[in-house]
Each structure stands twice: as structure tokens, then as C-alpha cells.
């Protein structure tokens, strides 16, 4: 299969002020990330808050400029292009945000909000296309004339999905699209995203911290920790045989309804200490299986074949 998106060695560092008059100190958000997203797959990008998963998504879409590295879309280099040159490519890339309350303008009617993408790209008869899209995402037809406040959270997220998909994109970044929704509504949106992917031949980068959601929607999973990819593999295998101790910790931490013989498992969670500075594995201080080498040499992401990659000296 062809790669739709290819990310090579991207890095991004933000500057943060330590106090109001303090020194500027660099915060490494993404540090040498490589990703290949194949046409038609949905790749899950998981990790805890602050691990850089959203930054990766933004860099791919060109919303954030990487300090180093390149992004290719359909074998064409898109990182570093000017916004004019980006215009024609951006049509094929879209994003769905986490909070459907913050990402819809309260003063713009739904019809215009969804149709804006089409107008920007010079489509004349937007109304017909928008109304078709509203039908596809399962909302009543009069949605077109209404305002965001008239809708519930789940309905708004449907509207955001319609807005992302109306321009016929090939690639969609879903940034925690269901984490602000109620449980009964969450399932509806997950199903909708799965159906639309099949019908419209979409490719997803699905960013989430919820491993239960990711398991139900993604074909392949990439685990990030402190700006680095530490494990990658097909969904089934990642959950049944995690290789990296951090992946193992993440999976064991998920509150699950599968009965564990009625007893709470004792976890090997070591309380969080910030990542090591400079050389060494970023997970060193929290790792129950660390060896001496881990503290001094950063493990590289080894390719084990069968889509499986892991960065750990123990493997």
C-alpha cells in the first residue's frame, strides 16, 4: 500500500517562560518523530497529556512549523511551503477538534459554517452539497438554518465532522473527537466515524489518550512518550503483547469493565518523575525494568518487521 502521509524526523521545541521575569527555557514537544500513514488506514496516536501527540497532528497539517524534518503528502513535500502553495493541498487535509463547543462560531449558521470550506475553494452551489452532508451525518434537514447553541454536544460533534468532510478530504486528523462526549453519545460518534471512513475512503490520524476508544477504531497504533515514538504496531498485537514497559503500564492503567476476578490488580506504576534530560531513555525513572544502559544511551526505534517497532533496550 502507498503511504498517504510520510513524516520524517520532525522536531519541535517551544519556549516557555519560567515565571514572569524568568529565563526562557526550551520545552521539547516533538523530538525526531517518523510516521508513515498508509492510504485507507486509521492510525492511532496515543500518549499522556504533554507527550506531543497534538503537535504532531498540527505539524502534518501545516498549522505548526517544525524546527526540523519534513512532511510528505501523496509523495509531495508539503513542509516549508508558503501558505499560497499549501492552498491546493490543504483542501485534502482536515481536522476534527476535541471540544465541539469551542470549535463552532456561535454567530454563524450551521449551513454557512459547513459550507465555508466549499466557498473558499470556489464551489458555487454550496447549499446542495452541505445539505447532502448534513443528511450523511444523520441530522435533520433544517439544521442548515440553525445556530450552534440549538444543538447538544453529540450533535455539534456531528456538525464538526460534516464541516471537516464536506470538501471531500483524503486525510483527517481526529484530535480527541469523542473525549468530551457522554458515554451513550460517544458510541454513536465512534460508529459514525467508522462508517464514514469506509464510505468516503478516508485515512485517519486518530489522536487520543483513551486506549479503549483507540482500540475500537484504529488499525495500527503508535505510542508516544515525551516527544518520541516508543512503540508502534498493529492494534491487536499492541494490546495483547505490549513490548515497551510504558505501553504495558498504559494498558494496565485503563479502568476496564472486563472482570479481573473481582480484585484490583496491583500495578507496577512508579509515580511520575519528569523525563531524564539529555541522553538516556525518557521513561528511565518510571521504568520497572530499567537496566544501566537505559540511563545513558537513548534507545533507538528498532524495526522488528510485521509493522512492529519498539524503542527499548530490553527488547
Amino acid at each position: 500500500m502507498d503511504n498517504l502521509v510520510e513524516v520524517k524526523d520532525i522536531a519541535k521545541t517551544y519556549k516557555s517562560l519560567d515565571g514572569v521575569f524568568g529565563m526562557e527555557k526550551p520545552v521539547v514537544a516533538v523530538n525526531g518523530v517518523n510516521l508513515q500513514i498508509k492510504k485507507g488506514e486509521s492510525l492511532g496516536l496515543v500518549g499522556e497529556s504533554g507527550c506531543g501527540k497534538t503537535t504532531v497532528g498540527k505539524i502534518i497539517l501545516g498549522l505548526e512549523k517544525p524546527d526540523a524534518g519534513t512532511v510528505h503528502f501523496e509523495n509531495k513535500k508539503i513542509s516549508g511551503l508558503s501558505s499560497k502553495e499549501m492552498f491546493s493541498t490543504r483542501k485534502y487535509m482536515q481536522i476534527i477538534f476535541q471540544d465541539p463547543f469551542a470549535s463552532l462560531n456561535p454567530r454563524i449558521r450551521i449551513g454557512s459554517a459547513i459550507g465555508e470550506v466549499l466557498t473558499v475553494y470556489g464551489v458555487k452551489d454550496t447549499e446542495k452539497l452541505v445539505k447532502q452532508m448534513i443528511e450523511i451525518i444523520g441530522l435533520p434537514e433544517d439544521t442548515y438554518y440553525r445556530y450552534p447553541h440549538e444543538f447538544s454536544g453529540g450533535q455539534r460533534q456531528r456538525i464538526c465532522i460534516a464541516r471537516a468532510l464536506v470538501g471531500n478530504p483524503k486525510f483527517v486528523v481526529c484530535d480527541e473527537p469523542v473525549s468530551s462526549l457522554d458515554v451513550s453519545v460517544q458510541a454513536q460518534i465512534i460508529n459514525l466515524l467508522k462508517e464514514l471512513k469506509e464510505e468516503l475512503h478516508l485515512t485517519y490520524l486518530f489522536i487520543s489518550h483513551d486506549l479503549r476508544v483507540v482500540k475500537n477504531i484504529c488499525d495500527r497504533i503508535t505510542v508516544m512518550y515525551y516527544g518520541k515514538i516508543i512503540e508502534e504496531g498493529d492494534t491487536d498485537i499492541i494490546y495483547t503483547e505490549p513490548l515497551h514497559p510504558y505501553t504495558e503500564l498504559l494498558i494496565s492503567a485503563v479502568p476496564s469493565m472486563i472482570m479481573k476476578n473481582g480484585v484490583r490488580r496491583k500495578r507496577n506504576a512508579v509515580s511520575s518523575v519528569s523525563a531524564i534530560n539529555g541522553e538516556g531513555c525518557p521513561f528511565f525513572y518510571r521504568c520497572p525494568k530499567r537496566i544501566e544502559k537505559c540511563g545513558t544511551i537513548t534507545p533507538v526505534l528498532k524495526d522488528l518487521g510485521n509493522n512492529r517497532k519498539v524503542a527499548c533496550w530490553n527488547v
Binding site: E48, S49, S152, G154, Q155, D182, V183, S184, V185, Q186, A187, Q188, I190, N191, K194, H209, D210, L211, R212, V213, K215, N216, T235, Y239, L249, L250, I251, S252, A253, V254, P255, S256, M257, I258, M259, G262, R264, R267, A269, S271, S272
Partner: protein, 328 residues
């Protein structure tokens, strides 16, 4: 029963709005025994948080407790004067809120914030107070308690702040801890640490916990018994294994089936059609009937009554007949 710590009976909470009153909680019964972790599960707007606030007598205006009784240790706390309630609140009953970011005061050190409770409820001062604070910080699993003691909230991580909140709740040695979505804003690994902590403290301190959550996974991890709430009413109650293995109410059943979990992946997740009702336009009859796959004619007209399946397990649904009319 002798070991009942908290008993809520026929509690209704209304919000008096200019356009009319809104019933957020409608005649529920609930009880928490000593050393028990009771979970209230429900989606937004089901009335779980207001129920908790009612126990603390902290319902924000224009909300009122329109009827019902809340017994704590056999005493109706809705009848006692406010100054007596103040002694109870934070001392015997404590509450931990969802957002550790919003519920700590950013301009006071951790020591001052916990210290306030120590002074008020235990009456310790000076060195004894400091000792007590350090002790409780250690109890909630903070290893460098001296640093945290002198810290401001912004210097701590989310998990640390939630630990401080729990420490603040526990310092007065309460018999009931109300935790309102204590882990929702936290990362999974931190969440599991906090859940471990709650389970451990419950044993150590003989604590009863009333846990409010929307996450059935969390319930499975630390709950003993479960109340399922929907639009201000209790739909089903029972102990954990009864609810998880043998759900009777269609809403409970739907919730359990629709949650994505770590088990085998289904092509489609089960969904409960429709949306949570607006409290201003509650459906007649059973509140769940517009979304219920088994809805019958009677469901649209009458409110279902309790059907008992065991001493603890009950559901309010017309699919099972019998029982007298009360909720909870």
C-alpha cells in the same frame, strides 16, 4: 440497619428559574453503609452532582431541596441549623471535586489550605498543626511532603493537586468522602494511582466513599454498589456484580454495551439512540422511553415502579411488574 451511614429518602431538588421550576432530582432514595464504596453512574444532566451537593447542603442558588430527608448517622441533616452543619461539613463529610485546577486557591500555599481545615475542625495550632498536615500528605502517597507543604498549587502537577485535594478532604478524619469525578481530568496512569489510593484509604481509615462518575470502568475498579441515574431518577441499583453481570434496566444494559472496552472489537458499537433529555422538556411516563428499544404503551403514560430482584438489586422498569412506588 445499624451500619447505615448515609440514608437519603425521597430527595427532590428543584431549580427555581424565572421560566418555571426545573426538577433536577426527583424523589430518589440512596443509602451508603459503613466502609462501602457506592457509585452513582450517569451522564451529564442526570443529577448526580446536585445529589452530592445536597448532602453537603451546598446547592447553588436558585436550587432548593424541595422535599425529602437526608440522614447522616441517624440525624436528619436537612433539619439541623447552619452552624451545626458547618461543623459537620468538611469534618465528618468531605468532598473532593473534579477539577483540581479550579478547586485549590492559587494564592495560598498547600500548608495554608490544608491548615485551615486542621484549625477549624481539629483545633490544632502551631507545630502540631504542621505535623498533622505533613502526616496527611504522606498518607495520600506524596513522597516529598516537605516540598509540597510549602508549594503553591501551580507548582504541582495535576495528579499531585488531586492528592492534595484528597488530603484536604481526609485531614479531619471524615466518615464519608464524596468524590465527584475525582479522576476525570487526569491522565490514565495518574488516574489509576488515584483509584488505588482511594481503595487503599478506604481500608486503612474505615471510610465510606460516595463516588460520582460516568466511567463504568472506574466503577468496576473500586465500587461496591452502584446506582444508575438518568434525568434525575434512579433507573437501577444493585451491587457491582449484579449490575455488571445481570443488568435489568434497558438503560444500564445499553450503557454497558455501548462503552468501548479493551475486550474483542465489534464492528459497530451498540448505541443508545437519541440524546439525553432536556430537563425542561422531560418526557411523560418513564423518562427513558423515547430512547428505549423495549418501550411499550404503558411506558409513555406511567412512571415505572420498583421491582426487586434481590435484597440490593432493583430496577424501575415496566418490563418487570410488582413492587411499590418509590425511587431508590
Amino acid at each position: 440497619m445499624i451500619d447505615t451511614l448515609l440514608k437519603i429518602s425521597k430527595l427532590s431538588i428543584e431549580f427555581l428559574l424565572p421560566e418555571g421550576s426545573l426538577k433536577a432530582v426527583d424523589g430518589i432514595n440512596l443509602s451508603v453503609r459503613k466502609k462501602e464504596t457506592v457509585c452513582i453512574v450517569g451522564e451529564s444532566g442526570s443529577g448526580k452532582t446536585v445529589t452530592a451537593l445536597a448532602i453537603m447542603r451546598l446547592i447553588p442558588k436558585p436550587g432548593i431541596i424541595s422535599s425529602g430527608e437526608i440522614f447522616f448517622n441517624g440525624e436528619n441533616i436537612l433539619k439541623i441549623p447552619e452552624n451545626k452543619m458547618m461543623q459537620l461539613r468538611g469534618a465528618s463529610i468531605s468532598m473532593v471535586f473534579q477539577e483540581p485546577f479550579n478547586s485549590l486557591n492559587p494564592v495560598f500555599r498547600v500548608s495554608d489550605q490544608i491548615g485551615e481545615s486542621v484549625e477549624l475542625h481539629i483545633g490544632l495550632k502551631g507545630l502540631a498543626k504542621e505535623q498533622k498536615i505533613l502526616e496527611v500528605l504522606k498518607l495520600v502517597g506524596i513522597q516529598d511532603e516537605k516540598r509540597v507543604y510549602n508549594s503553591y498549587p501551580h507548582e504541582l502537577s495535576g495528579g499531585m493537586r488531586q492528592r492534595v485535594m484528597i488530603a484536604m478532604g481526609l485531614v479531619s478524619n471524615p466518615s464519608l468522602l464524596i468524590a465527584d469525578e475525582p479522576t476525570t481530568a487526569l491522565d490514565v496512569t495518574i488516574q489509576s494511582q488515584i483509584l488505588d489510593l482511594l481503595a487503599e484509604l478506604k481500608e486503612k481509615l474505615s471510610l465510606s466513599v460516595l463516588l460520582i462518575t460516568h466511567d463504568l470502568g472506574v466503577v468496576n475498579e473500586i465500587g461496591d454498589s452502584v446506582y444508575v441515574m438518568y434525568a434525575g431518577k434512579i433507573m437501577e441499583k444493585g451491587n457491582k456484580s449484579e449490575i455488571f453481570n445481570n443488568p435489568k434496566h434497558p438503560y444500564t444494559e445499553g450503557l454497558l454495551k455501548s462503552v468501548p472496552d479493551l475486550g474483542p472489537v465489534k464492528r459497530r458499537l451498540y448505541t443508545i439512540e437519541g440524546n439525553i433529555p432536556n430537563l425542561k422538556e422531560l418526557p411523560n411516563g418513564c423518562r427513558f422511553h423515547p430512547r428505549c428499544p423495549y418501550a411499550m404503551e404503558i411506558c409513555k403514560k406511567q412512571t415505572p415502579v420498583e421491582t426487586k430482584f434481590s435484597s440490593q438489586h432493583s430496577a424501575w422498569c415496566f418490563r418487570y411488574q410488582g413492587g411499590e412506588e418509590q425511587n431508590g
